[in-house]
Assembly symmetry: C2
Homo-oligomer: 273 residues x 2
């Protein structure tokens, strides 16, 4: 495959629909690019599975995109980015492979002060420690706290923002973790380490006040991919289409996915992995 | 395979650890039986997946148990019971195959009054309507309400019973649905249509008061399987062992599973499906 074909689409995959927040950011940053998105909905969530299983699933998902012809791969899944990025880069070299962990960590480091960074993510992302390591690699003296927010994924898929229960679950997730919760030495930067969580950004800011910065990996990842495409002379000169594939539940993908994508999702192709 | 070998184990499978509430009930009812339990943890949850995918996964899981030699199959997963029981019975005939939906519905019908039954389950179990149909098949004039409680599965796996947030999420799930919530014509019977939910039984009773009956399919399923084994002359004369298999995350299976099982879980064999 000619990796150098600038008019090939960019392949994006996630365990499900959460990665559509990353796709939305990518499309916003790169309006002339085509994208193929694959959500491995039959096997979601990756966030409670072992590293070995996540690696196997990620290679299978990426392989579908590579077979269709892509000029780059974006791993829009925090769990897969955290555990399988090196494996994917090796497996599909020389194709450029981008994850969401390093960009998210870079964005958090850019705005943090001495109070440090609190990472909110799934159980396995926090337990695996990839965000914590990425933050410390970029800023070795940084104060880093990680907290799993397992309820937030399901909560995000319900998209019931106005419910008082949603506020309660969000506040519980950050209890004692942020400045505004009455803990003066708590981190002032909240790094959302799960693609589902950016849909709560506005609500978190409202709940926690102006003193807390909420960082969403999607935006920095998109900026980083755009810069890399430019650096490698791989910017498409026309395009802007996005096509969608899922491994299960096409209708649910469209309904729930539209919340993450911020716009309606047209046809979704059902594929088997 | 000689289905008539009474000393073969009973095979039990679930999408993950929730089915251990059913296994615990089975062991309590049938102390001389051996059991093999398979949790398809690599592909959980089944509750948000399509009927076709759930059917395929269920046949694969059941097949592992059948290959090892079992005298009966218990589908300890509500989603699989609701969508794939006929398929499994056909696929593995003449092996007796038991689900949890009909027993749960029977138990609810046995205690209901004119106010009817509220079914609490996963999105797909409620959307599929299997409990509603099973209840109406047994009692055609019954008043039946179904409500998805998607947050409860993750909540159960956290096992953080003392948290005020747990109470809030449980109360939100039954809001406006039960007598004690200030709705005098609401159902007085709560049918727990997800194997994860029985661990909340005591807490729900405490929150909702004595007026509400909480029905757990596991107990009736166990009684029904025990009766069928007796009727078919398949009661083991010695045994009492349980062995465990999972398709991913053996350590998490042991930790989280112990909550559902109500006792420590020894070795878990990792298998691939």
């Amino acid at each position: 495959m000619a990796v150098s074909d600038a008019n090939l689409p960019i392949g994006v995959f996630d365990s499900g629909m959460g990665g559509l927040t990353v796709l939305a950011a990518l499309r916003q940053h790169m309006p002339t690019e085509d994208f193929i998105y694959l959500g491995d909905t039959a096997r979601l969530p990756y966030g409670t599975k072992s590293a070995a299983t996540v690696g196997r699933y990620a290679v299978q998902a990426a392989n579908v995109l590579v077979q269709r012809g892509v000029k780059a791969l974006v791993v829009a899944c925090n769990t897969a980015s955290a555990t399988a990025l090196d494996l994917l880069a090796k497996e599909f070299a020389p194709l450029p492979v981008f994850g969401v962990v390093d960009p998210g960590a870079a964005a958090a480091c850019a705005v943090t002060d001495a109070s440090g960074v609190a990472v909110l993510a799934t159980e396995s992302t926090i337990a695996g420690g990839a965000y914590q390591r990425a933050l410390l690699a970029q800023q070795p003296a940084l104060r880093v706290l990680g907290r799993p927010c397992p309820l937030w994924v399901t909560l995000a898929e319900q998209a019931n923002f106005a419910s008082p229960l949603t506020n309660a679950i969000l506040l519980d997730g950050v209890a004692g973790l942020v400045k505004t919760a009455g803990t003066p030495d708590a981190p002032s930067v909240l790094l959302l380490g799960c693609t589902h969580f950016p849909i709560f950004t506005a609500q978190l800011k409202q709940l926690l006040g102006e003193g807390v910065r909420v960082i969403d990996s999607a935006l920095t990842t998109a900026a980083m991919v755009a810069a890399a495409m430019q650096a490698q002379n791989l910017v498409a000169d026309h395009g802007g289409k996005a096509v969608f594939m899922a491994t299960d539940g096409v209708q649910r993908f469209q309904t729930v996915g539209a919340v993450f994508m911020g716009e309606a999702i047209p046809d979704v192709e059902l594929i088997d992995l």
